[in-house]
Symmetry: C2
Subunit: 348 residues, 2 copies
């Protein structure tokens, strides 16, 4: 029998979480004051603040985020939708996002679209349901119309690794045309003659832009841009890269240089070529894109185009949170980083 008026729950059972009211009762103040301690501590006198804070600790009170969101009209979470969480490029971006978000007290809801429009749509729906404060997204295709639907709901959107289409939105990207040009210039400088471009889904902007850069470099060197052979794969993974290598080997004449739209493809291609006895770079030069960590550790270390990945995620988050917290003074920005060429063993 309980002697102190508390309902003593059996050990291991769950006691309902204490609410702001319980804290208020224990501290001898009103619920409003507790809310003030939580949200505007400077508005409450030192002594009461201390009393409330120790009550919070004693009860193990944790603010109910949903109630807060409901009343305040906005949450402390942001949504992050990426194309492939298995790609270290996006992992690095996510790390940048997560670090800054968590510094600012925001939670990150992760969505992986796997390049599928349907899954992306589903993720955005979840974000909308959660009433996230804002969304960071690397769209899986060019159709960014649905993002305006989010904006109409008052959810800020920042494009990641995708340039803005209009001036009224924030975007953070890396110049893929320049990057593609850098890659092919480098191949040409190594004496490449027949260059092929191993790429992913045609709908992906990154693939298109890198291709345009490649063609531009060809033209600048006095070659026919139309001479760029293309091997397009449905995914941009190492497995797809290996299949691409098989495709290439099945053709009558092998290119003497390959530009891969990302490092995963390049690593897969490399594996496929080596298994077939093709020497890299002696028989074929190979360059990737992203400069993921593993590019330097591969069988033949991979030349690549480096992007400021972590920075990309961090900067995008910075813009998003600024847009959320200072909606009136916020100026939309389109930030374009420049990529770097990293030369290793896989290119002549």
């Amino acid at each position: 029998m309980s002697t102190d008026g508390w309902d003593e729950a059996p050990a291991g059972s769950t006691r309902p979480s204490p609410s702001i009211k319980d804290v208020a009762a224990l501290a001898g103040v009103s619920p409003g004051t507790v809310s003030n301690v939580l949200n505007r501590p400077e508005k409450v006198a030192g002594a009461t603040r201390d009393r409330v804070e120790s009550a919070i600790r004693e009860l193990g009170f944790v603010r109910h985020g949903s109630a807060s969101t409901l009343r305040a009209g906005h949450s402390r979470t942001i949504g992050l939708s990426v194309i492939d969480i298995g790609n270290p490029f996006f992992t690095d971006v996510a790390a940048g996002v997560e670090d800054l978000a968590s510094e600012r007290g925001y939670a990150v809801i992760l969505g992986n679209s796997s390049g599928s429009r349907v899954k992306e749509e589903r993720n955005l729906l979840v974000f909308a349901e959660q009433r996230v404060r804002g969304v960071l997204i690397t769209p899986s295709d060019q159709d960014t119309l649905r993002l305006d639907r989010l904006r109409e709901r008052g959810i800020s959107v920042v494009l990641v690794d995708h340039p803005a289409e209009r001036a009224d939105q924030c975007a953070v990207a890396v110049n893929d045309v320049t990057g593609g040009a850098m890659a092919v210039e480098h191949l040409l400088a190594g004496g490449a003659d027949r260059i092929a471009y191993v790429t992913g889904p045609a709908a992906m902007r990154q693939c298109q832009d890198r291709r345009r850069g490649a063609e531009r470099a060809l033209a600048a060197a006095g070659r026919d841009p139309g001479s760029l052979r293309e091997v397009a794969m449905p995914a941009m993974t190492a497995a797809a890269g290996q299949q691409a290598a098989e495709k290439l080997l099945a053709q009558d004449v092998l290119p003497d240089a390959l530009f891969c739209a990302n490092d995963l493809l390049a690593l897969g291609v490399l594996r496929g070529l080596m298994q077939a006895g093709v020497r890299v770079p002696d028989d074929v030069s190979l360059i990737g894109y992203d400069d993921i960590d593993f590019a330097s550790a591969s069988a033949v270390s991979l030349s690549s185009i480096r992007q400021p990945t972590y920075q990309l995620g961090r900067t995008a988050t910075e813009l998003l949170l600024d847009e959320c917290d200072n909606p009136d003074t916020h100026a939309h920005q389109q930030i374009m980083f420049q990529p770097d060429l990293v030369v290793r063993e896989s290119t002549r």
Copy 2:
């Protein structure tokens, strides 16, 4: 001037999201019915359901997750706390989690503890504030007491890649002792004599267990388990691996076989050794752990211990959701997968 009584918002401005009431008004039913359509469609007559559903579409209504959570007492989100999102092992786990969660209509909040107890604690606080339905966590150390604090709040917890300490909790893990033994048995079979263990923080259970397995294998082969040299690094990344290689090279006598506690360390060690002109596997045998995708693409393809990673995440989520959705019939399970040895070029 508006002629239809609607307040016509200026183009591009944000209209407040329609609520369940607006839908009800348009469909000519009560809010309760709309709620029923949303949550128990079988309870409402076909004709009304259709009317409500088309009203939902017309208004672009999206359920307010926070209000729903507040009222229902539980949310449709789960928290996932991992040690290193930069490690493909955890990325694969996360992919498994995300896939199943999203199939079941759950959102995943991602937290990266970076092996830091403080960050882990912060993530758990965020999870608690969001009133997540459950938590999947790979704890960064052995002290799982704080997880009981979550359980007291009614938040289910499933341990991932960590065996259960008690029978009243779910856990999904892979037998690391067996894995460690497999690795060292393989090294011994290749004629290894002086074996070193390159590992991460001592507090990590994975590192301890793999070490125990290694020692067991030594003992079983009639060797002195104490002869296992150890190089412990503060992180389990490729960069740390490279530093480990430098440490090893600085010693007077180089081991003839290395067992690395994960593939990232192994890849770093490999890079470090190769830069110093040490041949793998001729001078030194090298085996990693996890069999991440990149293990097979490295300079010398890496022998490793394979774990059912994606499955690990999926199974853990399965258990968690079962515990959430069927709290009374749910039976706690401790599932232990077995690892596999994958032999490649890096070992004799």
